[in-house]
Amino acid sequence: MQRTTMDLWVGLFVAAGIGALLVLALKVGNMGTYSAAQSYTLMGSFENIGGLKPRAPVKSAGVVVGRVLDIQFNPETFDAVVTMSIDTRYQFPKDTFASILTSGLLGEQYIGLAAGGDEVMLKSGDKIMKTNSAMVLEEMIGRFLFNKASENKDGNN
């Protein structure tokens, strides 16, 4: 009798432990959001990726459609090659535009896909031809100051 109650408690303990692990995986972690759904890969080369990181989201119209898998530097063209995995439920036309955007002022960076009008869809392993680099704040400020300075010069003359 004593033995069976003990077994019951140990069984409950192990079940509660596994339940806690599941809660951590599904409710706290992001297992639920990118599960074992089928995906295909796309590539894109960017002049400057800013602060883009692997596992950053790929969004289209604000909806997460995939994740950044890998980022590599191409030593021949001197640009960054980003590999993304996209959910197979979402197909994009050949002339899709990929740009690196920032969510909010200080938020994380993600890739935004703007669908084009082509009839042919991108296949797994294809390269997105039209890309737009990340905006680097320092460069923008530098350009702004430079423009301002040249404007002033013109005004004085």
């Binding site: 033995r3 003990m6 077994d7 408690w9 140990v10 409950l12 303990f13 192990v14 509660a16 432990g17 596994i18 806690a20 692990l21 809660v23 951590l24 995986a25 409710k27 706290v28 972690g29 992001n30 297992m31 639920g32 959001t33 990181k53 692997p54 596992r55 989201p57």
Partner: protein
């Protein structure tokens, strides 16, 4: 040369040599226990009994501490984050600190003082009352019958306890920040889910707890088995278990963290 200085240096040397002896004994004991674990694995009922004593009975303290740790994290995180207007990130803060660090470490510290000390005292007292010697007389191997089941029970229980600690802690943080203070519920969970990665954060946390479980219970059973067979010896061994395993947990945590969370670009 004053005699006192000579004696002092001798004392230091004695202690160093003594601790090297102990380390060697501990390693040999650990290997012996692993080799004899097969016998106790075949009698799994012994391990279930020990899981009841080390795991199930530690549950209350783990759950209650987890709840309070999560609540405090929620309060303090909210206090700081609301200065920057980003109080919805409090879920991320609570979950990441619990899953990566506080869950494994605090649960292991509690486990060391709740279950580790009990294991040491039990084995030490068995040795002091010559129960272990009596077993050997009856051709029952005390390491396979007494020590190995306690070790494996601790190793099995530890990840479950830490997982419960973390998830109850997240719930505590939810209670304080969402229910009491009124942070938006949707952004609490969604920010948490986008920041906590399963493989990177949760699996690494589980690996940590497994390592801590092995360290704590190995120290506990060795201290008990190695205790001088006197009342004073057993009490000293129990104290040493708590001190050594706490230090081991904190030291190992630094090493593991340095390995796991460094190369994230």
């Amino acid at each position: 040369m004053p005699r006192r200085i000579v004696l002092g240096i001798q004392g230091v040397g004695h202690r160093v040599i003594e601790s090297v002896w102990r380390l060697g004994r501990a390693s040999r004991f650990f290997m012996l226990m692993l080799m004899k674990s097969g016998t106790s694995m075949r009698r799994f009922r012994l391990i279930i009994r020990e899981i009841y004593f080390t795991g199930v009975l530690s549950l209350i303290i783990i759950v209650v501490s987890g709840l309070f740790v999560g609540m405090v994290l929620g309060l303090q995180g909210y206090e700081t984050l609301q200065k920057y207007g980003s109080e919805s990130a409090v879920g991320t803060l609570v979950a990441l600190s619990l899953v990566r660090e506080l869950g494994p470490v605090v649960a292991a510290l509690l486990f060391a003082s709740r279950a580790g000390s009990a294991i040491t005292a039990e084995i030490g007292l068995m040795k002091a009352t010559e129960q272990l010697a009596a077993m050997e007389m009856m051709a029952v191997d005390p390491i396979a019958r007494v020590v190995a089941p306690r070790f494996w029970a601790g190793v099995i229980s530890m990840p479950f306890l830490a997982a419960m600690f973390s998830s109850v802690g997240v719930f505590g943080g939810y209670l304080v920040t969402v229910v009491l203070i009124g942070v938006d519920e949707g952004s609490f969970w969604s920010q948490m889910q986008s920041a906590v990665d399963f493989r990177y954060d949760i699996v690494n946390g589980i690996i940590k707890t497994c390592v801590f479980g092995v360290a704590v219970t190995a120290i506990a059973v060795f201290e008990g088995y190695d205790a001088p067979p006197t009342a004073e010896g057993v009490s000293g061994a129990t104290t040493r278990t708590v001190v050594t395993s706490s230090l081991a947990i904190l030291g190992l945590d630094f090493v593991l963290t340095a390995f796991m969370f460094r190369g994230m670009s």
